[in-house]
């Protein structure tokens, strides 16, 4: 892109200025936070004491002049600090992409952790105590849900379902294997390898197993952050990512199980058996809760045609409620959230307006991005905050065991899984899956939640967890991209789905279902077909409003494609700009050939007979809609009525007729000639109407992007 290099010099200076500003802001914000936190955490110090005194003083001195400018930080402290952190996170994110080449080498997550370390270091350096920012409640109830909802709502259902068996085996069996392997061997090392008087030998088996279960879960946040930048093929992405999502159930069960066992101190077979049952309850219960809320959301969206403004809110609220409801019963909140998002999406998207769809998409992306950034920064800060207890043996053994367990687990499981898969997983795939098993903030938060009385070795655990997280995020995160290049792993195919693929894929689905029925083999396609039929017959009628409930999938896809193409048409070739104040009715007779507009120069203007011209004029008059009066009175609670919903199918029919007319016109070369003016006139008719029509309706759409 030549234009960019020309302005590079000037923009380089601007970038430098921006970065300086960011750094200054960073320093300022850190000091404000330090000052503020010192007020909170050391109320007995003289500093705050004097602050209070002056406060009192200003109130008691009634004879003092009226304070024109007064400082009252306490009232806004909490929202101010929160906003400051979020702003810091966002500025950091901006800053990284401005520095050339940095984002190519180092993944964003590493940079953010480094920033967190710096901030924590600065706070500590100024002598204040570092605020405990990665509070478990904050993490699990505020920071984590947006990321998971974003992942669940946009989960590619088809590859997920096709590989569900593989994903489940990796998630359940793999995590269990990791937990027991790491926990068991760690206990062995602690008992055997060290003297009986050291701290390590006092760690019981249950504590080790609990530690193993915390550290063994692959973290969805870290996986998303790293895998997003390497663009590997869909299969590997969905395998690792699906595993990171579904192993939450296993982690929840194991965590609660071992925590309770450690607290009580006795293990019985009955309790073990109940543990297995509780796994199914947690997993399936979470999914059930999610599905319930998803259906509710879909049903609600059916009635929102008059209040389009709050449509996105329903999506967010129902999903969050699903998460919280699952957490009430100690079910897997992550699975509830995923199930809710995945279930409600097809129905909600059929019901809501395009603007709401864009809003949902961008809000989810925005929130999840901010959350992710904050999580990594807080990880850095929490590392500095401590409290730490570094034990060389424990930490190194943990790191090594985690790696070894992951590799053995993946290789062993793939051997079994490949017997059942049609498309086998190659060694390269196995390597990427094993290498992509990153640990992240969930492990840290779970460790943070540990009760100090039951777990006197909590600090050792936390230090080890942080070390493993750092290792996986930094070492594995940084090297996975060059490794992917080196091993020539298949990358994601960027091209959009064409209508051909859609048609032929559906065709093949029907074909395979038929063949399966002939063989009497109730496989994959058979059940998918049954589900689709059930969906079409009963569910869609309930959950989708109006005519869209009967729309076949192919037609919906085709509409979406046409829409995208129409937008591209205006964006690229929209040379004829009409004034944006749209007249309420336009009479064909009043249009004058504008001197500023020009017909498409590349098209040879054919000659028309008078009959043909009349025919065209008649078609245009009868088929074109009157451009509607869009300027209604502005009301904060309603948006301008979206013209799409009303005119959508008409738009396409008109467009088709338009193209047919153009084809007819362009083929008509042999008729008698009219004056050149009238042919230009007709062309201007056609073009102004196409462009007026498309431009006005799409202009609002684009301006909202």
């Amino acid at each position: 892109m030549p234009s960019r290099t020309v302005s590079h010099g000037a923009s380089g200076r601007l970038r430098g200025l921006f970065l300086v500003m960011v750094l200054v802001f960073l320093e300022g914000s850190v000091f404000t936070v330090a000052v503020a936190s010192s007020d909170q955490h050391s109320p007995i110090t003289a500093h705050s004491g004097s602050h209070k005194a002056t406060d009192h003083g200003s109130h008691n001195n009634t004879g003092k002049a009226f304070p024109v400018l007064d400082l009252n930080y306490e009232n806004v402290r909490v929202p101010f600090e929160i906003s400051l952190w979020v702003l810091l996170a966002s500025l950091m994110k901006l800053g990284f992409h401005l520095v050339p080449h940095l984002s190519n080498i180092v993944p964003e997550s590493c940079l953010l952790i480094v920033v967190g370390l710096l901030v924590g270091g600065i706070i500590r350096g100024t002598g204040e105590t570092v605020p405990p920012v990665l509070d478990s409640k904050l993490f699990f109830y505020i920071l984590l849900p947006p990321i998971i909802l974003d992942a669940g709502y946009f989960l590619p259902i088809r590859p997920f379902m096709e590989n569900l068996g593989t994903i489940l085996i990796f998630a359940v069996v793999g995590t269990l294997w990791n937990a027991f392997f790491v926990g068991g061997l760690l206990y062995g090392v602690c008992q055997i390898g060290t003297e009986s008087s050291s701290i390590l030998s006092r760690i019981g088996l249950l504590q080790c197993l609990l530690f193993g279960s915390i550290i063994s879960a692959v973290d969805p946040v870290a996986v998303l952050a790293v895998f997003e930048e390497i663009h590997i093929n869909e299969l590997l992405h969905i395998l690792v990512f699906g595993e990171s999502l579904l192993n939450d159930a296993v982690t929840v069960v194991l965590y609660h199980l071992f925590e309770e066992f450690s607290g009580i101190g006795s293990v019985t077979l009955l309790k073990g058996f109940l543990g297995v049952i509780s796994f199914f309850v947690v997993a399936l219960g979470g999914v059930l809760v999610g599905v319930l809320y998803g259906i509710l959301a879909a049903f609600t969206s059916r009635f929102t045609s008059h209040t389009r403004v709050i449509e996105p809110l329903f999506v967010f609220l129902y999903s969050y409620m699903a998460y919280l409801s699952a957490e009430i019963f100690h079910l897997s909140g992550i699975m509830a959230l995923i199930a809710c998002g995945a279930v409600m999406r097809p129905y909600v998207e059929a019901n809501i307006s395009h603007k709401s769809h864009t809003t949902i998409k961008y809000f989810l992306k925005m929130w999840s991005s901010v959350s992710e950034t904050l999580i990594f920064i807080f990880l850095g800060v929490a590392t500095v905050a401590g409290p730490h207890d570094w034990n060389w043996t424990f930490v190194t053994v943990t790191v090594i065991l985690c790696l070894v367990a992951r590799v053995i687990g993946v290789v062993g499981l793939t051997f079994i899984i490949n017997k059942f898969r049609i498309v086998k997983l190659t060694t390269k795939d196995q390597f990427i899956i094993a290498y992509g098993g990153l640990r992240g903030a969930i492990a840290f938060s779970l460790g943070f939640l540990l009760n100090k009385e039951h777990f006197p070795e909590r600090e050792i655990f936390l230090t080890a967890i942080i070390t493993v997280i750092f290792f996986t995020v930094f070492v594995q995160g940084m090297t996975i991209k060059p490794l992917v290049e080196l091993l020539a792993v298949k990358k994601k195919q960027e091209a959009k789905r064409s209508i051909n693929e859609e048609i032929h894929t559906q065709f093949l689905d029907h074909l395979l279902t038929g063949i399966e029925d002939i063989c009497g083999h109730y496989g994959h396609h058979h059940w998918k077909d049954k589900l689709n039929r059930f969906n079409k017959k009963y569910v869609k009628k309930c959950l989708i409003a109006g005519e869209r409930s009967k729309e076949p999938q192919l037609i919906a896809f085709y509409h979406k494609m046409e829409m995208k193409q129409a937008i591209q048409l205006v964006e690229s070739g929209g040379g004829i700009k009409m004034p944006s104040a749209v007249p309420s009715t336009v009479s064909m007779q009043n249009i004058q050939p504008r001197p500023s507009t020009k017909p498409a120069p590349e098209r040879a203007i054919p000659q028309l007979s008078k009959n043909k011209e009349e025919e065209i004029r008649k078609i245009l008059r009868t088929n074109l809609q009157r451009t509607r009066q869009r300027l209604r009175s502005y009301n904060r609670h309603t948006l301008v009525a979206d013209p799409y919903e009303d005119g959508l199918s008409d738009l396409f029919l008109k467009k088709q007729k338009m193209f047919q007319i153009e084809k007819k016109v362009s083929f008509n070369k042999t008729d008698n000639t009219l004056t050149k003016n009238s042919t230009i006139y007709t062309y201007i008719y056609i073009h102004t109407y196409i462009h007026t029509y498309i431009h006005t309706y799409i202009h609002t759409y684009i301006s909202h992007l």
Partner: protein, 202 residues
């Protein structure tokens, strides 16, 4: 089975089918029992009615075409017609197209490609579109398939525009038909090996 002895499969036949289609012994016997359960007339061949008796096939939009694909073609004075009965060999030959491709079968000599190679799978699907066997999918043939898949509610115009769009996307040599090579090219991103394979359980 009933008093009329259903023909047992002879070992030589199993071996021949194994060589031709690549199915394993157990798969062949299992599919043979399915074949006999469909064969209500017990004469060792399946007719069209036997297929149509399968309930799920009746509601499948492509049901008729799939059934047709099983019946081998015969030639009679330059007229292509389809025979009325299919025996077990023919049954297996058609089903062989849907066997998963195994790694040791890839990279074989393309002249002697097994029935379940990617090209042969695609050819099978292509032939389901192309009824008049002129090696091209014309606009009308495409329209017919679209109509079957989409149902009766959509107008002809809309369907026509979808068909036009489809041909326009795929057609590289400008004959406003989709030839087999263009068909292959369009589906190159689709994982045909997985999509067109059924796991015949051991």
């Amino acid at each position: 089975m009933g008093s009329r002895a259903s023909r047992l499969l002879r070992e030589e036949e199993i071996e021949e089918i194994k060589k031709e289609t690549g199915f394993s012994h157990s798969q062949i016997t299992r599919l043979y029992s399915r074949f006999t359960s469909l064969d209500k007339g017990e004469n060792g061949t399946l007719s069209r009615e036997d297929f149509q008796r399968i309930p799920e096939l009746a509601i499948n939009p492509l049901g008729d075409r799939i059934i047709n694909a099983f019946f081998p073609e015969g030639y009679f004075v330059l007229v292509i017609f389809r025979e009325d009965q299919v025996n077990f060999r023919g049954f297996m030959r058609t089903l062989a197209h849907f066997r998963p491709i195994e790694d040791n079968e890839k990279n074989k000599n393309p002249a002697t490609e097994p029935l379940n190679s990617r090209t042969n799978k695609l050819l099978f699907a292509f032939r389901l579109y192309d009824l008049d066997r002129d090696d091209k999918i014309s606009r009308d043939e495409l329209l017919q398939v679209l109509r079957m898949m989409v149902g009766v509610n959509i107008s002809d115009e809309q369907l026509g525009s979808i068909a036009d769009r489809t041909i326009q996307e795929a057609d590289t040599n400008g004959d406003s038909c989709i030839s087999f090579n263009e068909f292959i090219k369009v589906l190159e991103k689709v994982d045909v090996e997985q999509k067109m394979s059924i796991r015949f359980l051991h």
